[in-house]
Amino acid sequence: MYNETVMDHFQNPRNVGEITDASGVGEIGNVVCGDILRVYIKVKDDRLDDVKYMTFGCGAAVASGSMMTTLAKGKTIEEAMQLTNKDVAQALGGLPPQKLHCSNLAADALHKAIEDWQQKNGK
């Protein structure tokens, strides 16, 4: 069902956890559909110095959160805003079609976290 890259990110998710003094936090999903993803960012000089995430969700949700953080870390805010859910799924080598809608929301959650930072900082 899942490829090796997805299973690797599921088994060893990168950057899981919280950032206690995060610059911004974004959450997406709901408990009805069964996937929730929360993203924390630390911004330094308009760059994503650190990105962490927490998730309640299936294997695809865990893996896409993990892949998103590895892609987003170090990127400028502008670059990070260009990152799409599709990019994340592609970097994972693809996800089962039925998972593309519900469990592949990591980039959206990242954008929410960035918007949260922008709001807090009047950007």
Partner: protein, 389 residues
């Protein structure tokens, strides 16, 4: 790595004795049971014996067993066949909200074709209230179909009470006993049912074969038309090897029922107690007593079912979940919704169903692995960890 199969409500492995008999049969018995010649007669002898074995498991007569292509087909035949035979008497069917899709979708099919269907609610344990059935009965009710035990949460329904109410009103009563046959005593006379569904592969027999018990004198219209096999109730040349295997599986199930029942309940209680002792924030779903001996069903707060299944599978443990993410339809379990579980606990559900090949060492292994799996998933669950910023 240790392998522990805990999905016996999904399917069971072939019993070695069943396997041997099927091989012996298939080696040189190929006749068509409908043929007059010796080859046909030989095949028919085997099929008749299997029919007797299946009948004996449920306290029925041999003539009351119709072999089908599985449990789903038997449910379709019972429900659609009864509706077609009785449509002049009425167009109302009563079922429960926690039936297997084979029953629910047969009812839905009839609802699209002029029938009305009432779905009885269940309580928090998954039990149907007989008084609810009485209230739902109308002059035009022709069939009640309520499962003997639920396949997800293992709750055993009060079939005797329910069927006696239906009988007062001369309404046919069907029960799907796919989960109970071979696991708890199933006797069609004690249950008071007119129609009862069985499946071979849930009792260590081969797949692709099941049976419908049809009480003598009950009239059904066939769903599959053709050469008139199975007393015109199920046309098509018999799946002889499957039927022979099913018969043997039924015989073994009857023979070992008491000992397996006791053994399985002991393992179940060890697993249930172990989970409750080792893992916080769990909910044991289903009825504590009116329950299938092999069914263990929990919800684990803050974690999602598919992630649990994947993690367990990596450790060699096979289980199942009512989580939306683990189903191809991406819908959460209708059974767990009907018993009033909140969505979070539906998604965090885990079903483990025990069987013949499980032993105490398997349970110890699960009790070692499962707490770690749940703890790991909880460690990065936003539901377990409140927003700290």
């Amino acid at each position: 790595m240790r392998k522990v199969y805990l999905d016996h409500a999904g399917t069971t492995p072939l019993h070695p004795e069943v396997y041997s008999l099927i091989c012996e049969f298939m080696k040189d018995t190929f006749g068509n049971p409908s043929s007059i010649h010796s080859y046909g007669r030989e095949a028919k002898k085997w099929v008749d014996e299997a029919r007797q074995q299946v009948a004996d498991l449920i306290g029925a007569e041999r003539e009351e067993i119709i072999f089908t292509g599985g449990g789903t087909e038997a449910d379709n035949l019972a429900i659609i066949g009864a509706a077609a035979a009785r449509h002049k008497k009425g167009n109302h069917i009563i079922t429960s909200s926690i039936e297997h899709p084979a029953v629910l979708n047969s009812c839905k099919y009839l609802a699209k074709n002029g029938f009305e269907v009432t779905y009885l609610p269940v309580d928090g344990y998954g039990l149907v209230d007989p008084e609810e059935l009485r209230k739902a009965i109308r002059p035009e009710t022709i069939l009640v179909t309520i499962m003997h035990a639920n396949n997800e949460i293992g709750t055993i329904e009060p079939i005797e009470e329910l069927s006696s109410i239906a009988r007062e009103y001369d309404i046919l009563f069907h029960t799907d006993a796919v989960q109970t046959a071979g696991r708890i005593p199933v006797n069609v006379k004690d249950l008071g049912v007119d129609l009862l569904t069985l499946s071979s592969h849930k009792m260590y027999g081969p797949k692709g074969v099941g049976a419908l018990y049809k009480r003598k004198g009950v009239r059904l219209e066939p769903v599959i038309h053709g050469g008139g096999q199975e007393k015109k109730m199920r046309s098509g040349t018999e799946n002889t090897a499957g039927i022979v295997g099913f018969g043997k599986a039924a015989e073994i199930a009857a023979r070992d029922l008491d000992s397996e029942y006791k053994r399985t309940i002991e393992l179940r209680e060890k697993l249930v107690q172990g989970i409750i002792e080792r893992i916080p924030d769990v909910k044991y779903n289903g009825h504590p007593e009116r329950r299938l001996p092999h069914n263990v069903h929990f919800s684990f707060s803050y974690v999602e079912g598919e992630s649990m299944l994947l993690s367990l599978d990596m450790k060699g443990i096979a289980a199942s979940s009512g989580s939306a993410c683990s189903s191809s339809s991406l819908k959460g379990s209708h059974v767990l919704e009907a018993i009033g579980l909140p969505y979070e606990l539906i998604h965090g559900s885990l079903r483990m169903t025990l069987g013949r090949m499980n032993d105490a060492a398997d349970i110890d292994y699960v009790l070692e692995v499962l707490p770690e799996v749940v703890a790991r998933l909880r460690s990065f669950s936003p539901l377990a960890n409140k927003l700290t910023v």
